[in-house]
Amino acid sequence: MARYIGRRLIQLIPILFGVSLITFLLVRLIPGDPAISMLGSRATPDLVARIHRQFGLNLPIWEQYLHYMNGVFHANFGISIFYEQAVWPLVVSRVPLTLELLAYSAVMALAIAIPLASLAAVRRGGVVDHGIRLSATTALGIPSFWLGILLILLLGVRVRIFPVAGEGSGVIGRIYYLTLPALTAGLAIAPILLRTLRSSLIEVLRAEYVSTARAVGLPRRTVFRSYILRNSIMPCLTVLNVNIGWLIGTVIVVEDIFALPGLGSLLVSSISTRDYSIIQLATLLFALLVIATNLGTDILYGVIDPRISLARRPA
C-alpha cells in the first residue's frame, strides 16, 4: 500500500510539471496581457513597456518560464501583478473554502443520489422509478447559475431560512452558510450519480448471491445494505471521481453566485485581468486536487472492496 502510494506520488511530478508548462503557455497565448487589462485605453506604449519590464514580461518566453520554474523550486510562485503581493498566501488562503464546498457538494450529491437510486431500483419500471428518472434528466438540464439564483430567491429572500451570501464561521456556521451553495453544486452532479447507481443496483439485485441471501432468510434491510448497496456503490464512486473536474467547474460558478471567496472565483477574476501568476498557481492547485481525488478514490476502493489490492495492481 505505502509503496503504491509512493509510486503514485512520484508519478505526480511529471504531471504537475506538464500542467505548469501548459498553463504557463496557455495564459500567454490568450490575446491581451496584464498591462492591457490594467491600463485599458490608457495603455501607451511607454506605460505598457514599463509594466512589462517590472514583471519580466519583456523577456523571451522560455526565459520567463525558466524564471518561473526557478521560483517554483524555491517555493516562490511570483507576484500578483494587480495586488502587487506574493501570490502564494493570496491563493492558498482561498483553498480551504473551496475544498469544504467541494466535499460538502459531493456529500450532498450522494445524499440525494443514494436514496433516490435505491428507491428507483427497487421499484424498477414503476411510476416512482419513472418519476425519479424523469426528474434526474430534468435536473441534469438545469444550469447551476440559474438554479443557484432560484434557490437564493426561494430560501434566502422569500422564506429566509438560509443566508444568501457569506461563508459563516465555526463548523456549524460554515455548514449552515454553505448549505445552499453545496445543494446547488450537488444537484448538478447528483443526476449522473443517480443514474449510474440505479443501473448497478439493478444489476446486483439480479445477482445470485442476493437471491441466496434472501433465500437464507436474512432481513431485507440487511440484504440491501450489506449485499446490494455495498456492491453497487463502487461504480458510483468511480463516476464521482471521473466527474470531479466537472464538479470543480460547477463549484466555480457557485462561488460566483454566492459571493464565496474561494479558489474558483479568484481564478475567474484573474483570468479576466490576466494576472498570470495567480492563474498559474490556482490551476496547479486544481490539478493537484483532481490527482489527489483520484488517488483517494483508488485507496477508498481497497477499503470498500477488499478484493481490490492496490499494491499488486499494475500502476
Partner: protein, 527 residues
C-alpha cells in the same frame, strides 16, 4: 433635500479666489444634466450616528496607493480614506475646497498657491503637515506613473510656508484644479508611507472620513469611522464594509434579503424590480458616454461624410429608452454631459435618416458598404444597441458585421489598431474636458485613441484651451471644438451612461457624485 444637506459640509470658510475658481462659474453655460438624480426618499429627519453599512460591489479592490491604482473600486475606496486639496461639488459642476481653503494663480498661470486648512489630522491623530501634501503631490505628478498625464505641465510642488503649497508649471494649465479633485491627487501621510515602504498600498493613512480596519483580498474591505475627521459631527457611520459580489443577480438578491445596504452596478433591467420592492435607486449621469470608435485607417472611414452618415443613423432616443430602460440620455456631445464646458447646443448629431442618406450619397460608397464592429462579449447593452443601429443602417445599404470578443482581447485589438469600429464608452477621471480631448482629439500620444483622427485645427484649439485661464474664453474655445467635432466625428457618441446604485430604504443621504465619490461621510442609517 439630500443635496442641501450635502452641500452644507463643504461650504466651510470659503474664499473663492482668482481665475482658477471661476472655472466653476462658467459652468452656468452647462446643461442641467450631470447632477445625480435619485429616487430616494428625501433624507428626512435628523442624521443618526452609528451603525455598519454593508456595500456590495461587483469587483474587489487591488491597492490603496493612488500612484498604482488602475480600477474604479480602488479609486472609490481611496476617495473615502483620503482627502484632496479640492473636491468636486455635489452637483458636479464646480470645484470646492477640501484640504485647501483657498487658492490663487499668478497672472501668467505659471504658479498656483494653495492655502491649507488648519487643524486637520490623519486618522491616527497625527497632524497633517505641508510636507505630507508636498510628498503626496510630488508622487502624483510623477510622469512615470500612469496618472502623471493629468498633471503633465506641473514641474514641481513646493512648500512656501507651513500652510501654503505652490505648483510650478511649464505652461499655464487650466485643468489643474479639476485634476486636483481626482483620487490621483489624494493626500496621505509621508511618515506612514515611508514606514511601510513597498507595502504602503496595503496600509493607507489619510485624513478622509474613514480609515482602513481590514482588507481580505477578494472578500471584503472594512473601514471604520475616522474620529479625527475635520468635518464636525461626521461621518455618521461607525463602519463601512465593502463586500465583493461579482454576480449581478446576487447583488440584487443581497439587497432584497437585507444582507447588503447598498449595491453598485445595478443592471438597468433590474431597476424597476428594485424600486417595486421599495428599495431606492441612485442613477448618476455625467462621467460616462457611449462611443463607437472608428479606425480611420480603414476605408471608407477616412471620409467624414461616411462617419457622419453612420452617426446620423443611430437612434439614440430608442437606445436610451429600450436598452437602458430610460436611465441613459441621448448624447449630444463627444464628452460626457457632466464634463465642464459640456455644450449640447453645438449643432449635435441626432437621429436623422434623411441626413444620413444624403451624407452617404456624397461619399465614395453612396450605396453602402460592410462595416466590421467589435464588441466585448457579455456586454449585452452594446449588443442590443448595435442591433438597433444595424436595422437603421440596413435602410441605407450599410451592413454591420458584428464580432464579440472577450474584454481584454478586444482591448488589445483596439490598442493595436486591429479593429474597424469598436463599441465602448469613455469615462472621465477628471471633470475637465482636457482629459478626453488631450488624448482623443490630438494625434499624439496615442494616435487620437487609435482612431488616427488628425485635424490640426481642432488639435491647436485643444492646446489653446488647456492654457486659457480666462474661463469665458475657455468656454468659447470648447464650444468651438464641440461644433467642429460635429462636422468630423471620429467617435460616434451614443448615449450618456449612468452609474446605477440601489440602496435599502433605511439608507439616508447616499448621493455619489459623478466622479464616483460615494461621499459616505453624509450617509446615515435609520428608520
Amino acid at each position: 433635500m439630500i443635496q442641501s444637506q450635502h452641500s452644507r459640509c463643504r461650504r466651510a470658510p470659503v474664499i473663492l479666489a482668482s481665475l482658477f475658481v471661476v472655472v466653476a462659474m462658467v459652468l452656468a453655460a452647462c446643461s442641467s444634466s450631470g447632477s445625480p438624480s435619485t429616487s430616494s426618499a428625501p433624507a428626512a429627519g435628523t442624521p443618526v450616528h452609528g451603525g455598519t453599512l454593508v456595500f456590495a460591489r461587483h469587483a474587489d479592490i487591488f491597492t490603496f496607493d493612488p500612484y498604482n491604482t488602475q480600477d474604479d473600486e480602488s479609486i472609490f475606496t481611496e476617495m473615502q480614506i483620503y482627502d484632496r486639496l479640492v473636491a468636486l461639488s455635489p452637483d458636479g459642476k464646480s470645484v470646492v475646497p477640501e484640504l485647501a481653503t483657498s487658492w490663487s494663480a499668478a497672472p501668467n498661470g505659471l504658479t498656483a498657491d494653495f492655502h491649507l486648512r488648519p487643524g486637520v489630522k490623519f486618522s491616527d491623530g497625527t497632524p497633517l503637515t505641508v510636507s505630507d501634501v508636498v510628498f503626496s503631490l510630488t508622487r502624483a505628478i510623477n510622469q512615470q506613473g500612469s496618472w502623471g498625464f493629468l498633471f503633465s505641465p506641473v514641474k514641481r510642488v513646493v512648500a512656501l510656508n507651513s500652510s501654503t503649497v505652490q505648483f510650478q508649471m511649464s505652461t499655464a494649465f487650466a485643468p489643474l484644479l479639476a485634476a486636483l479633485a481626482t483620487f490621483a491627487a489624494s493626500i496621505y501621510s509621508e511618515s506612514n508611507f515611508k514606514k511601510w515602504g513597498s507595502k504602503e498600498g496595503n496600509h493607507p493613512l489619510g485624513t478622509g472620513p474613514f480609515a482602513l480596519q481590514s482588507w481580505a483580498p477578494g472578500t471584503s474591505v472594512v473601514l471604520v469611522r475616522n474620529k479625527y475627521y475635520w468635518q464636525p459631527g461626521k461621518p455618521y457611520l461607525n463602519k463601512v464594509e465593502f463586500t465583493n459580489v461579482s454576480n449581478d443577480n446576487s447583488r440584487v438578491l443581497q439587497l432584497e434579503s437585507g444582507t447588503a445596504d447598498i449595491i453598485d452596478n445595478t443592471a438597468p433591467n433590474q431597476i424597476a424590480q428594485v424600486k417595486a420592492r421599495g428599495d431606492q435607486t441612485e442613477s448618476v449621469l455625467g462621467s460616462a458616454v457611449g462611443w463607437v470608435t472608428l479606425n480611420e485607417h480603414i476605408p471608407p472611414l477616412n471620409q467624414a461624410n461616411v462617419r457622419l452618415a453612420l452617426a446620423y443613423a443611430l437612434d439614440r432616443a430608442t437606445i436610451a429608452k429600450t436598452v437602458y430602460f430610460g436611465l441613459a440620455e441621448p448624447a449630444l456631445s463627444v464628452i460626457p454631459n457632466g464634463t465642464f464646458y459640456y455644450n449640447p447646443n453645438t449643432d449635435p448629431i441626432t437621429f436623422n435618416m434623411a441626413k444620413a442618406k444624403a451624407l452617404l450619397a456624397k461619399s465614395t460608397v453612396p450605396h453602402g458598404f460592410t462595416l466590421n464592429v467589435m464588441i466585448a462579449s457579455g456586454d449585452t447593452a452594446s449588443l442590443d444597441q448595435t442591433e438597433i443601429w444595424a436595422a437603421d443602417l440596413a435602410k441605407i445599404g450599410i451592413k454591420l458585421n458584428v464580432t464579440s470578443l472577450e474584454q481584454t482581447t478586444a482591448q488589445q485589438r483596439y490598442n493595436t489598431a486591429q479593429y474597424t469600429a469598436w463599441v465602448s464608452e469613455w469615462t472621465n477621471d477628471t471633470p475637465d474636458p482636457d482629459e478626453m480631448m488631450g488624448v482623443g482629439l490630438v494625434y499624439l500620444p496615442q494616435d487620437a485613441l487609435h482612431t488616427y483622427f488628425n485635424d490640426p485645427q481642432i488639435a491647436a484649439l485643444v492646446t489653446q484651451a488647456r492654457q486659457e485661464l480666462n474661463t469665458t474664453q475657455r468656454a468659447a474655445l470648447y464650444t468651438q471644438i464641440q461644433t467642429l467635432y460635429n462636422t468630423q466625428d471620429p467617435y460616434i457618441y451614443t448615449v450618456d451612461i449612468p452609474r446605477l446604485y440601489a440602496s435599502a430604504p433605511t439608507v439616508h443621504g447616499f448621493m455619489p457624485n459623478s466622479q464616483g465619490d460615494y461621499e459616505l461621510q453624509n450617509v446615515w442609517i435609520g428608520g
